[in-house]
Symmetry: C2
Subunit: 515 residues, 2 copies
């Protein structure tokens, strides 16, 4: 413990985010705001592919938070065997989607799209089917399946359909610079790699009509050796715009080529570096992939196409989202893990209560669950045994500390990391978790991370600086406890710093650039 | 052949690049301009580690082109066995460096730095030593070896020394998020990972004095799974600035962790995706890593440090270099492959003759030669059997075409790529190569690629567009032939484009965004 600046006062309602909460047009559809829940696997479906209760619960929960557009997870256009995955490969699946939509629409104003996907076979041996193995007849079947599934999505009542052309799946593998086909659908020509994705988009459009919103998601960078980068992504985007795509949702990576093979399990994408680029972990800067969207958007706009571009990847705050829109780096803000962590992110931000958001820490436990073929939940932040984000109860009583003292202690470890421990808080309806705030050298307190348990190790503190922490407990309603008494320590300098030199950080700047 | 726009007239002298050719200060050193030849392996040294004739020839050739700073390739601070690699592990190596410098200084005004490196053991089995295997005594030895080598670099007369903390080598592996040490030099703490690099910088400074320029090269992103990104790169940069680094040269990737192991050969970095990030191939956009430098520079500058930041990675033209400086995304422009392709790049640009630059096409044959343990040359552009970039002879006679006709023909292939062939040009002193220019839909002709032989396949042409090409031959003096007669073709649209839609590109925009 040491002298410390005063903790920040409890947050006041903040001004809203005028660009983020302005409507956006996608074809004839008007989105009430610019927050897009990008498609994210849940592994909640049954193997039969029908909408079930856990799927319904998950998406109704999202709808309640009021994002402008919810993209329901990748749904197979074909009947291939796979793990738990929604399907729309036949009319028998439509009813479930209608019922899902009815329940989502009852709780929120957001529009709802369905992402549809075709994928190839994988085996536990590590073998996988690649696009160069497909016959021309099979390519024809794939385009037809996309068109039929899109028509079913419309029939089910979805506001839009999104064609999955990203990551490790069939259409992305056609676009890939590593497409090894030698015919008009691949080989060493961008036009040939574009052919099947173009045909799919055209046939989908013919099936759903001119006025039905059709979006496309694809990789702005493959992030694998020999993969394509922006020089291909820009013309790919333009082609999709020219063929009438109503929005372009940009992702990165997520490929099979660098996937780690676990013996006895099918090869799974996202397990290599390219998967880190899809879902940037905490070590990446906020908005890590925004530069990709900016470049693609500039190119498409310069050609006269105003098609909205969705950017995603560790966009951690409404402030950052608003800045991206203000800089015209993108038109729509894709959030996935941030909305998994807290589906109420949009309505809290709009209400000027961004301080109540349960902030994703990009710990990627969700990603690890998926990689291990387990149901996806927020393992970093949701208390067990929640399978979905907790609802906000009607509760105005914040948590507090026993004897009004959190007993926050900090301990400097040998390796220079700082271990924080504190007492568990109390709340009549249960404590949800804790937020850890840090001030460097008398600078402002900034959210460092959130935890489920009453401990954290700060491994990014630097020698020669004074760190002060406080923690706040929060409950399921979002009520915050008073901040704990602060606790701090200085990391000693054990290297011989030359005279006149200092390792001191500017507390204000450090706060602005936490990640 | 088809109707075509007129070819562009022969290039006129262009205005120079005022920022690129303004001086820059590095400690007490004044660089005459802002072009930096970043360190690049040559494999020209003998296994004994002494400066030899091929090394001398290579660097004298670079010096003649007049970059502001030449960083001589990674030179070992220790005596470990390795392939062809310069050494400065003992005083006996100093004389050779003195002689090299005398010859470089005789031909150009550029300043010269030496990059010094420590690396760990690798075996043909694929085994490699990692930093967690090093004893504390070995760490002490490493810091001492850096300090001694830096003192020898100063004694040899180098204008600066650069500490290699990038890619797959010892100090980068200490900084790495995948450093597995559990003590004060690693484990899960950024401060601990910074310790040895900090100690090395401090001890080097003590050895060379306050007024001797000491630069550091390190990764702004590791580009491997679990590696660090900008959130660590920014504080790493700040620490180096605080400890008195005189410039920060940013690279990316180049790691062992994703290297491809060739049976029977030692594991070699740069062979995986992370190596593509170090030396972005043609599929990446120009200035592919500039966003990393911009972020690091902002952070360091915001803390009050004006230390110059070097950015590198597919900076293909003086125009782009000038733009980067104008936008304050970096302070110095690192070129490696571009100067390998044409060491005269700086003086041609300064003289307003950028049109005479032999333009790197980022084909990475140089990288492949290195990966195959062969001497590094520009295999894309240098005529065989040149081991170094050809000198510019005194010659004002441009190449021409037999019978004044290049007989340029274009042939559309089944996969949508366009094959160009033309007749070989003639030149009294020999033809160096050919430049291929392309116009899309009557837009301006833009340099598409350069070739050694009279053929090229354009694999990025798109359906529904009219492409016209011309080629120019160039000789060793940089003289360009008249453009060939143009030849063009339209790629037919074979997908059914919806009514009212077009696949046509805007020729002007396409020209501005070629890559």
């Amino acid at each position: 413990m040491s002298p410390a600046p005063r903790p920040t006062p409890p947050a006041r309602p903040q001004p809203p985010y005028p660009l983020l909460f302005s409507p956006a047009r996608v074809n004839r559809l008007e989105l009430p705001n610019r927050v897009v829940l990008t498609a994210m696997v849940t592994r909640l479906s049954g193997a039969d592919g029908f909408v079930n209760q856990p799927i319904t619960d998950r998406y109704v929960r999202y709808a309640r938070g009021e994002p402008g557009l919810i993209v329901v997870e990748a749904t197979a256009v074909h009947g291939a065997k796979s793990g738990p995955l929604l399907r729309l490969s036949g009319d028998e699946f439509i009813l479930g989607h209608q019922q899902l939509l009815a329940q989502m629409r009852a709780v929120g104003p957001g529009k709802v799209a369905l992402q549809i996907i075709h994928f190839l076979k994988i085996a536990r041996s590590g073998w996988r089917q690649t696009v160069d193995m497909l016959t021309r007849a099979e390519l024809t079947e794939i385009a037809k399946a996309y068109a039929q599934a899109a028509a079913r999505a419309r029939e089910a009542g979805y506001d839009a359909v999104e064609l999955h052309m990203a990551h490790a799946y069939t259409l992305s593998s056609m676009l890939s610079a590593r497409n090894r086909r030698r015919d008009e659908y691949g080989g060493r020509s961008l036009e040939a790699r574009l052919r099947l994705p173009s045909e799919v988009l055209v046939q989908v459009r013919a099936a759903v009509g001119a006025d039905y919103p059709v979006g496309v998601r694809f990789d702005a960078e493959e992030a694998i050796k020999g993969g394509y980068g922006l020089t291909a992504a820009r013309p790919i985007a333009l082609r999709l715009a020219q063929l009438g795509a109503d929005y372009l949702s940009l992702s990165a990576g997520g490929k099979f080529e660098d996937a780690l093979h676990k013996i006895g399990e099918p090869l799974y994408p996202y397990t290599g570096y390219s998967g880190d680029r899809t879902m940037p972990p905490a070590a990446y800067s906020n908005g890590a992939n925004v530069y990709l969207a900016e470049s693609v958007k500039q190119y498409v706009n310069a050609h006269g196409y105003a098609v909205p571009v969705v950017t995603t990847g560790k966009i951690n705050t409404p402030e950052l989202a608003e800045t991206i829109l203000a800089r015209e780096q993108a038109d729509l803000i894709g959030l996935a893990r941030a909305l998994l962590a807290d589906p109420d992110w949009p309505q809290k931000a709009r209400a000027g209560r961004a301080d109540r958001i349960v902030r994703c820490i990009y710990g990627n436990i969700c990603k690890n669950l998926d990689e291990n073929f387990e149901q996806v939940r927020c393992g970093s932040l949701w208390p067990r045994p929640f399978l979905h984000a907790p609802d906000q109860p009607d509760d105005n009583t914040p948590p507090d500390w026993p004897d009004a003292d959190a007993e926050l202690t900090v301990k400097l470890q040998d390796n220079g990391a700082i271990r924080l421990t504190w007492r568990a808080a109390r709340d009549p309806q249960g404590v949800y978790g804790y937020e850890v705030f840090r001030s460097v050298n008398q600078g402002p307190f900034v959210h460092l991370t959130s935890t489920l348990t009453a401990t954290h190790v700060d491994d990014v503190a630097l020698a020669g600086n004074h760190y002060v922490y406080h923690v706040r407990a929060y409950d399921f309603a979002g009520n915050r406890s008073a901040p704990s008494q602060p606790a701090g320590c200085t990391i000693p300098v054990s290297i011989s710093v030359p005279p006149g030199r200092t390792l001191t950080l500017d507390g204000q700047v450090a706060a602005e650039h936490l990640s």
